[in-house]
């Protein structure tokens, strides 16, 4: 079943004469890792923001599980699609690292012991245990990115959208992230990532999309 579908989607920012995205048509199933690549400033981040409802298309429409996304609240979309911003600082707002991971879980009204267990598990997996009581915005770039990914992944979204997830990660942590994404895929979840990291894409992506001149091309691999 198609999880997300973009139909003739176009987008222009206010005051922009030429549309940034034009006639974008593609579907995402809840399987494998889809990578989106393309030159700088071509609209990759804009496309990812359209996928999570942060921006609304100027033309065309997007459906999520058959429902038009324009009729859904961000909180509803967030339950199905997890989004990790290009700049992780934008999504860190809690006073401590462990609260940051637990924030979304508390909104799901899970029992406290379950929240604690999942927070501990994710702190351990992303090697953030020693920073559990630190202020998120004072972490290093790599640590912030790991925390942003952990805070979204803990909610177990059906589709995970990552914007440049490998920026600031060392080789070992890139490997850790890749393995984590493969685990997600194995549990019947989909991953959509924007990346310029060709090694990472070649190693983990099962489908590659290229965005050029506002249009999307598919590159089989």
């Amino acid at each position: 079943m198609i999880f997300m579908k973009m139909v003739q989607v176009g987008f222009s920012y206010p005051g922009q004469k030429k549309p940034l995205l034009n006639d974008i048509n593609f579907s995402i199933h809840k399987e494998g890792i889809t990578a989106l690549t393309g030159p700088n400033g071509v609209g990759k981040t804009t496309l990812s923001k359209l996928m999570v409802g942060i921006l609304a298309p100027s033309t065309g429409h997007i459906t999520l599980k058959g429902q038009n996304m324009s009729s859904m609240a961000l909180a509803q979309i967030g339950r199905l699609v997890g989004y990790v911003f290009q700049n992780p600082e934008k999504q860190l707002f809690c006073p401590t690292v462990s609260e940051e991971i637990g924030f979304g879980l508390q909104n799901l009204e899970l029992p406290e012991h379950e929240v604690q267990r999942l927070v501990k598990e994710n702190l351990a997996y992303f090697e953030l245990e020693h920073l559990a009581q630190n202020f998120p915005l004072q972490l290093s770039e790599g640590e912030k990115r790991r925390l942003a990914i952990a805070a979204v992944l803990v909610l177990e979204p059906e589709l995970l959208v990552l914007d440049e997830p490998t920026t600031g990660l060392d080789a070992y942590r890139k490997h850790l992230l890749g393995e984590c994404l493969l685990k997600l895929v194995a549990s019947k979840r989909g991953v959509f990532m924007i990346s310029h990291d060709s090694n990472f894409i070649d190693r983990y992506a099962s489908r590659i999309l290229i965005l050029e001149n506002g249009r999307l091309k598919e590159n089989g691999c």
């Binding site: 999570v52 942060i54 609240a73 961000l74 909180a75 509803q76 979309i77 967030g78 339950r79 997890g82 989004y83 911003f85 600082e89 934008k90 999504q91 860190l92 707002f93 809690c94 006073p95 924030f103 979304g104 909104n107 799901l108 202020f135 915005l137 004072q138 805070a151 979204v152 909610l155």
Partner: protein, 251 residues
């Protein structure tokens, strides 16, 4: 002709624009009757027209303030005794001409203040730093004003991004109770303050590294020149304001 005038007005020295705005806001604060405030508003709108500023959107945005103005209208009517009673419930005055007048004054005053601020926006913020320096305000202070103006939209965007991130993690702002909504806003506040401090620190280091305040004097790429039109506008604005204020006080 109209275009030429607009270009001349937009290219006015920022100090002349500051004088215009000061005159308009002084009159807006001084006058206390809807009729006089309406005249000042019409002058403000005419000036905006000359400066080719699209002000219709500003008036449209004020519709959001209407509920507040309505509340003000009834509070003024109920608690201030002045004016003729238009609607009453027993001994309680629901609507009086005094209340209508006060609420209209607030609306007109706000429109004048926001409208005159739009005249300021017709010059580059960097030119205002130069204008402040020419007005003998220390460069450090003028530069701080510029930085505040420059970073304001950045912080607004950061606050919006945090709100989006919160919603994407399951908080439906349309449905949450007021108590939780207030808690959510505290979440926006903490990264914002942290980012302000962080950016201020980084900016200070970057400025020091580029020799800021290394010598007591500095050169400027652009130098402001107060020409005849600037003098004319300044003298005209100040004279009209002073005459109007004096006449109002005498009367």
């Amino acid at each position: 002709m109209g275009v030429k005038l607009a270009v001349k007005m937009i290219n006015l020295d920022p100090r002349a624009k500051i004088v215009i705005v000061l005159c308009l806001s002084t009159l807006a604060v001084f006058f206390n009757t809807p009729g006089l405030l309406l005249i000042v508003l019409i002058i403000t709108l005419l000036l905006l027209q000359i400066f080719q500023v699209k002000y219709i959107s500003l008036i449209y945005k004020f519709r959001r303030l209407l509920p507040v103005l309505f509340v003000l209208l009834f509070i003024q009517s109920a608690f201030t005794g002045h004016g003729q009673v238009l609607v009453a419930f027993g001994d309680v005055h629901i609507l009086t001409t005094g209340g209508v007048s006060s609420a209209s004054c607030v609306l007109l005053r706000m429109l004048i203040l926001f409208g005159s601020a739009m005249i300021i926006a017709t010059s580059n913020s960097r030119d205002y730093v130069l204008a402040l320096v020419e007005l003998k305000i220390p460069y450090e202070i003028a530069f701080m004003v510029l930085i505040a103006l420059r970073f304001l939209p950045v912080f607004v965007q950061e606050a919006k991004d945090t709100l989006i991130a919160i919603q994407l993690r399951g908080v439906d702002m349309q449905k949450v109770a007021w108590g939780k909504k207030i808690k959510v806003f505290t979440y926006i506040f903490s990264p914002l303050v942290s980012n302000v401090l962080l950016k201020a620190n980084q900016l200070a280091i970057s400025m020091e590294a580029r020799g800021f305040r290394l010598y007591p004097r500095r050169t400027y790429l652009r130098v402001l020149k107060y020409n005849s039109l600037d003098y004319l506008i300044t003298i005209l604005s100040l004279s009209i304001t002073l005459v109007v204020l004096t006449l109002s006080i005498i009367r």
